[in-house]
Symmetry: C2
Subunit: 432 residues, 2 copies
């Protein structure tokens, strides 16, 4: 907070910019009510009725804000404020509104409702954009239903192999992607896939507002995180298999316990990450399943899934290499069979320097403390970076909690983020 | 195998004793067909239709063998061969026929069908028992349906608190114990509980024939294991709770990963067991569950279940104590909340010296190699030991496998075990 330190910014006094944080909070709460689990948790899965209601809600809000609404074949929603130079590449902002089971109200939502409110705030000042401004609601950032994260933005970025994946996938109830899409009103989702990728130079910039999903900003009392890069995640699946047996009858020297191999590997993941001595490297064993999973049975199989992220691709890959060596060593020593699979290993994305500077200036203009950060969570921005200069604005969230019902961002932090977004859009829109 | 070394045993030539291992194998296979999963796996849960069919099959076999069949209120089945001294405490043998999901054909079954065939073999020699002989099929040795192992033998032994447990329990489909029992034809299971416990001196001996469920006999090429004691299991439930969070966003120093705490404790269990330097101490982490169990979420909770067994009760309790100290140390160091619960901690049971000697002599008489063993798996014998002198006969099984579809014992090993059982019953029955 604090009083504006510089008095003007592209002709706009920063104190002319007013965010209606009360109405925004009402909208966040209303959107949260479209959910398949009871409050305070939110569950909003791709193409479910709750998702469809959220889509209608966002389109209505865009419409009320004077935006021209357009939707593509998979349900990416665009609201456009036509600029005076309507032929120039536009400036886009946005995020997602889908929510994993039993999660919270802010992840993604802040970047959609906040973008619409930023447009409203700019509108109220009398500002007219030179480049057009667009708000995007991306389809299915979360991988919940079909196991594909950032579905909408991957398609917008024209990533290869998406069509063949989407022809194949089914959800846990064996419903195919086109059938699920059709139920939600996207009857030609597969047929129109070729029209989804963005044409070159559609956007001169893409900026996403998002809660940090980590504790740093809150701990350090900083209002704005300026994302300089997004660490792309790599994910591994590892299976160990042993002979199992009766927990009472098989003596210790005769065992090859797949569960203990998995336990060792989970600890090795942590060790190899810490050995980098880099704050930017993180590694997590989020899934560890034992078979048969009975107290009186020696585990005959263990399945673990590991998530490794780093902004430094080489360092991340070297951690993966170390984990692989450990897995082999453990398997050999414990006489268990090993199956080691690298599932994804995406490159990281760097923010555009111009956008970073625009966010910096906006924060300064508003007298807000800020710091450069790396986004270790990935976002639609990771894929938008492939077709547009990209930047992200983080705001603090309660204890860094995310993907849980007690996810929370204060109205003041929301308001700060939206103002920074508005001033950044303003500057980028005016930029030649 | 080998040729009989001594020529007589209580008036019976050991080569007069003939086991019909072909018919036995047919019976084992037929019993295995009463199953709720497809062959080769067997699933036979307490009071299911498969269990009811198995009970009818056993009662018919007992009847065909000339035994007087009796059933108590919970379905423990007794087949009696009346001895010449019908007032003297009888000699009992038996085991269970229930099978955990997707297990095999031999666990328990060998001790029931084998006992009936031992009776047949004795009958064929013209032998008449002095003490009566009884074959018992115990109800629900496996804890599958209601979480209570050795249900029938616990009740026969008059263990306290069983009635209040059985009034409370429901299965996973919320069916109560008396309702499940009624469906299987035991309509007054709860009402007749008081009549189930055995009167004092009902049995002068109880002998159970069982596959080893471990690899020792097969590895060492020994035909008969003579159980000198049953290690009673202790079981622990441990829960760790941390803050969880997003696998990408929360940096390593800010984490308190409940899953890694659980991984450390699983390895500590192994370490403390190995530190005893005792071959008789075993410890297993058979259950390890992470919450929420998503690859991109730091585990906020971990639940583990640990099984510890030892024939030396003090040493086993000291291992539990070490595990408890490790759990606390891990929880403190990793800043996670700990909930540590000792679920069961039963005393071990020692075999009767007289029965051990009877089994030893029988093996010797038959020219079979034997060794003294500890049963680390527990059995109905653990509870029968509370109301009768107890002993157990083990036979080798393929690679020590049990509780899996490829559980196997050869016809020769089965035949050996049944002959040893028959001669032991003969000796014990004749004993004054
Ligand atoms: Mn998310
Ligand atoms: Mn998100
Ligand atoms: Mn069993
Ligand atoms: Mn058994």
């Amino acid at each position: 907070p604090g009083y504006p330190q510089s008095s003007g910014f592209c002709g706009l006094q920063s104190d002319e910019l007013i965010v209606d944080s009360f109405r925004l909070q009402q909208q966040i709460d209303e959107l949260a009510s479209f959910s398949d689990s009871s409050a305070p948790s939110v569950t909003r899965i791709l193409y479910s009725e709750a998702d469809v209601r959220a889509r209608r809600y966002i389109k209505d809000l865009m419409d009320s804000s004077g935006l021209i609404v357009r939707e593509d074949g998979v349900g990416n929603i665009f609201g456009r404020w036509e600029g005076s130079d309507s032929m120039a590449p536009a400036i886009a902002t946005g995020s997602h509104t889908d929510a994993i089971p039993f999660s919270g109200k802010y992840d993604g939502v802040v970047g959609v409702l906040g973008a619409i409110e930023a447009i409203n705030a700019l509108n109220r000042t009398g500002f007219k954009p030179r480049r057009s401004l667009e708000v995007i609601m991306f389809t299915s950032e979360e991988p919940t239903r079909f196991g594909i994260s950032c579905l909408g933005s991957r398609l917008l970025a024209g990533l290869p192999n998406m069509k063949s994946s989407l022809e194949r996938v089914v959800d846990k109830d064996n419903i195919s992607f086109p059938d699920a899409a059709a139920i939600a009103g996207y009857e030609f989702a597969l047929e129109t896939l070729l029209e989804v990728p963005l044409k070159e130079d559609t956007y001169a910039a893409f900026v996403e507002l998002h809660i940090e999903q980590g504790p740093i900003l809150e701990e350090e009392g900083i209002a704005i995180g300026i994302v300089t890069a997004i660490a792309a995640p790599a994910s591994l699946k590892v299976d160990f298999r042993g002979d199992g047996g009766h927990a009472g009858a098989v003596l210790m020297p005769s065992r090859n316990d797949a569960g203990l191999a998995a336990a060792e590997l989970a600890l090795a993941v942590e060790k190899h990450v810490l050995e980098t001595q880099s704050a930017d490297t993180v590694g997590t064993t989020g899934v560890l399943e034992l078979y048969p999973g009975a107290v009186n049975s020696i585990p005959s199989a263990a399945h673990i899934e590991i998530d490794i992220r780093d902004i430094d691709e080489q360092r991340r890959n070297s951690v993966i290499q170390h984990i692989k060596v450990s897995a082999s060593e453990i398997a050999t020593r414990r006489h268990v069979h090993l199956d080691f699979q690298i599932v994804t290993q995406d490159p990281p994305a760097a923010s555009s320097q111009k956008i970073v500077k625009a966010i910096e200036s906006a924060s300064q203009q508003l007298g807000l403390t800020s710091k450069h950060m790396i986004s270790r969570a990935y976002h639609d921005s990771l894929f938008m970076a492939r077709v547009s200069p990209m930047g992200m604005i983080f705001i603090p969230c309660y204890r860094g909690y995310s993907h849980r019902p007690d996810e929370f961002a204060s109205r003041e932090d929301l308001s700060n983020g939206i103002k920074v977004l508005a001033l950044s859009l303003l500057a980028l829109s005016s930029d030649l």
